[in-house]
């Protein structure tokens, strides 16, 4: 490899830009999945670099669960407006209504699994043949197994036992009609790499990544914000404290962490010292079983 004199962030950036250009070169109708979180925000930044001076040559798709952090939505609209991209929003709520699905109930009603239906409907509606996502292999053990070009059949399902060989940087994006590929340009980035890159490139993020005061339910040692979707009952321990978010998913299944980190330097120092993994600290949905992510991917999740 030609990596000796390059800093690791340069290597990771170059790899991602190459992947973006391969997606553009190999597919007719790619789309970039964007949620307003840090990983997909980095994707936008990398795509801008990959295709400069032209604008990003594909639209941006948000699968809106209806359980978003309002700050992430504001950020999403601002960023998309600034880069002049075409934003497509498809709502899980509409899928639930059209398909007669059951909206999950309970204390923390996660629509995370239902997103796959909405995503597949959007893929069919627009004829997307490649969906570019911000998945990283260091997040979770099923993600750790996935190829950079991850082939999905007509139902969107991942076949973990039958993945295409993927050698060097030769990516095989050939598919039949109706199939699609999920492409992951930042597969090899860790959480810390993401933050160091954000710092180096001065990338703006939603405010909830930084310390702020919030009223939360203390649930199994995790801080879950009170919102229109998460309502405390009499037995709940309710605390108002200084928190920030390490990941930004749905309000119903993303926990905050107690933190006073107000700057990127603070956050990087905090992450370098933390004894807890990214998803372990922040995700309620992966605590269900050992294979929660694997199961979602088998059903078309990205």
């Amino acid at each position: 490899m030609l990596t000796e004199k390059m800093d690791y962030l340069d290597i990771l950036e170059a790899e991602a830009i190459y992947i973006f250009r391969e997606v553009a070169g190999q597919f007719k109708r790619p789309v970039l999945l964007f949620s307003g979180g840090k990983d997909s925000t980095i994707l936008i930044h990398l795509a801008l670099k990959a295709f400069y001076p032209a604008p990003i040559p594909f639209p941006v798709l948000h699968i809106d669960t209806g359980h978003n952090f309002p700050e992430a939505l504001v950020f999403r609209d601002e960023l998309v407006g600034k880069i002049n991209a075409e934003l497509i929003v498809r709502k899980v709520e509409d899928t639930i209504r059209e398909k007669g699905l059951t909206d999950p109930g309970g204390k923390f009603p996660s629509r995370n699994a239902l997103q796959s239906y909405t995503l597949m409907d959007a893929i069919r509606e627009f004829g997307f043949d490649a969906c570019i996502g911000g998945g990283r292999r260091d997040e979770e053990k099923a993600r750790a197994k996935e190829r950079i070009f991850s082939f999905r059949d007509t139902t969107g399902a991942w076949q973990p036992h039958n993945q295409r060989p993927e050698l060097w940087d030769v990516y095989n994006g050939r598919i039949h009609e109706g199939e699609n590929v999920r492409a992951f340009p930042i597969s090899n980035w860790t959480e810390l790499d993401v933050w160091k890159y954000i710092q180096r490139e001065k990338i703006a993020l939603p405010s909830i990544y930084f310390a702020h005061e919030r009223t939360c339910i203390m649930f199994n040692g995790r801080l879950v914000a009170i919102s229109p979707y998460v309502i405390p009952d009499d037995k709940d321990e309710v605390v108002t404290t200084t928190v920030r978010y390490r990941t930004v998913g749905d309000m119903t299944c993303t926990a905050a962490i107690a933190s006073h980190a107000q700057t990127l330097d603070d956050i990087i120092a905090e992450l370098e010292a933390t004894p807890i993994s990214e998803r372990g600290a922040t995700r309620i949905d992966d605590q269900i079983s050992d294979a929660a992510m694997e199961d979602r991917k088998l059903k078309g999740y990205f």
Binding site: M1, L2, T3, E4, K5, M6, D7, Y8, I11, L12, A14, I17, Y18, R21, E22, A24, G25, K49, A50, F51, Y52, P53, A54, P55, P57, R137, D138, K141, A142, A144, K145, P160, H161, Q163, R164, P165, E166, L167, W168, D169, V170, N172, R174, I175, H176, S187, N188, T190, T274, P275, I276, S277, G280, A281, D290, A291, E294
Partner: protein, 400 residues
């Protein structure tokens, strides 16, 4: 800080997962919530750190490649945890294709096995830059030097046949951490290095090849027509006269953009966008300077690994060949010889080439391709074959 990618290969129960767990644990790279999931009845089981899929946990084997990340104050590392099983050799080939260092684990009790030969064959096929042979489970052999020396000698004989060089042997107990992150007092006869020391200090070879190769990926249209591509080797200057290979047409590079800047020159491995004097370029073109152009043609001899588990190689069929971004219809016109995994000798027979077999073959493409020999420029000497019916990647090849 730089980045080193390495892979681990070993048979079932050679201690591969334990070694990865040990490296992560001893360098403080396992978070406590993950550590809790590794603590079963009977204490901490480091091997579970690499289990990814449900079936892998149930069958207690690695089926496909998993990637793990860790860092020390000296370097960042990407571990490619690859399967050892015979039928998943193709996944090992995927995993090992991007690494700087390959670690082959040998159980001191079993010595060199068919799997060791197979893993070494993969290293030889891919021409991995640095090989580490970890002779593991030395704790079960009282850390005896003669056990280590015997396996080392036997391995060196095999390595010679495979053309493998630049090998470091390490006596090890991954379970107890001997010679993993630090040198062990139990092997005073071994002068080092410990595995981590080697991984931290190994000097990744830099690209020596000065000849320009720019692979065109994608046309960027923004008023002016630009072409996105990656410089595989060498240096491109604005104003350079270049050849567009394989067609051999000439053009002049009027300007080069890199990230958000217009630059006077760019070096490998930069992702650039170039502008010409008006000549149009296409995905698959290779740009070079006129005085040192790549080879060009439709027939070449390559080392090949067949990877499709469902169908064998069909010498009457047209596949799609990919080198970098170039694509062409291609037939395997003849299988010159196969390699016997037990004797490592060449042989020929009439049987079709099947999954996980290695051979030397003759390829013929339907149109000219620009290529280099592996020893001069690996990046332009390797590629894949795709089955146009299934779209699956069915083979990997290296032009020697």
């Amino acid at each position: 800080m730089d980045l080193l990618r390495f892979t681990t290969a070993g048979s079932v129960d050679d201690g591969k997962s334990t070694l990865i767990g040990r490296l992560l644990y001893d360098t403080g790279n396992i978070k406590t919530d993950i550590l809790e999931t590794l603590t079963m009845e009977g204490g901490l089981n480091l091997a579970h750190v690499t289990d990814g899929l449900r079936a892998e946990r149930q069958q207690k084997i690695t089926i496909d490649v998993a990637y793990k990340y860790f860092s020390t104050p000296h370097r960042k590392f990407i571990i490619t945890d690859a399967p050892g099983h015979f039928e998943y050799t193709r996944n090992l080939v995927t995993g090992a294709s991007n690494v700087d260092v390959m670690i082959i684990l040998i159980d001191a009790k079993n010595g060199i096995t068919a799997q060791t030969r197979r893993h070494s064959m993969v290293a030889s096929f891919l021409q991995v830059g640095k090989l580490v042979v970890a002779i593991n489970k030395m704790d079960l052999h009282d850390y005896a030097q003669q056990v280590y020396e015997r396996i080392k000698d036997e391995y060196l004989q095999m390595a010679d046949k495979l053309g493998l060089h630049n090998i470091t042997f390490i006596p090890m107990s991954a379970l107890h951490g001997d010679n993993v992150t630090t040198l062990s007092a139990k092997t005073p006869w071994y002068i080092g290095p410990a595995l981590l020391e080697l991984l931290e200090s190994y000097k990744i070879p830099t690209q020596q090849y000065a000849h320009l190769r720019l692979s065109i990926q994608y046309a960027i249209e923004d008023g002016q027509q630009g072409y996105a591509g990656k410089i595989l080797s060498g240096t491109l200057h604005a104003g350079d006269k270049v050849l567009i290979m394989p067609s051999g047409r000439e053009t002049v590079i009027s300007s080069i953009s890199h990230n958000y800047d217009t630059v006077g020159e760019a070096h490998a491995p930069a992702n650039v966008c170039v502008y010409t004097d008006g000549t149009s370029l296409s995905r698959g073109d290779i740009l070079s300077h006129p005085q040192d152009k790549p080879l060009e043609g439709q027939a070449f001899e390559t080392a090949l690994c067949w990877m499709d588990a469902v169908t064998a190689l069909d010498t009457g069929k047209t596949y799609l060949l990919r080198i970098n971004t170039a694509e062409a219809g291609c037939m395997v016109t003849s299988v010159l010889h196969k390699i016997n995994i037990d004797t490592l000798e060449n042989y020929s027979d009439e049987a079709p080439l099947e999954a996980n077999q290695f051979a030397t073959v003759q390829l013929r493409t339907h149109k000219p391709i620009a290529w280099d020999h592996f020893i001069t420029l690996a990046e332009n000497a390797r590629g894949i074959l795709i089955d146009p019916d299934t779209n699956n990647t069915v083979a990997a090849f290296m032009i020697r």
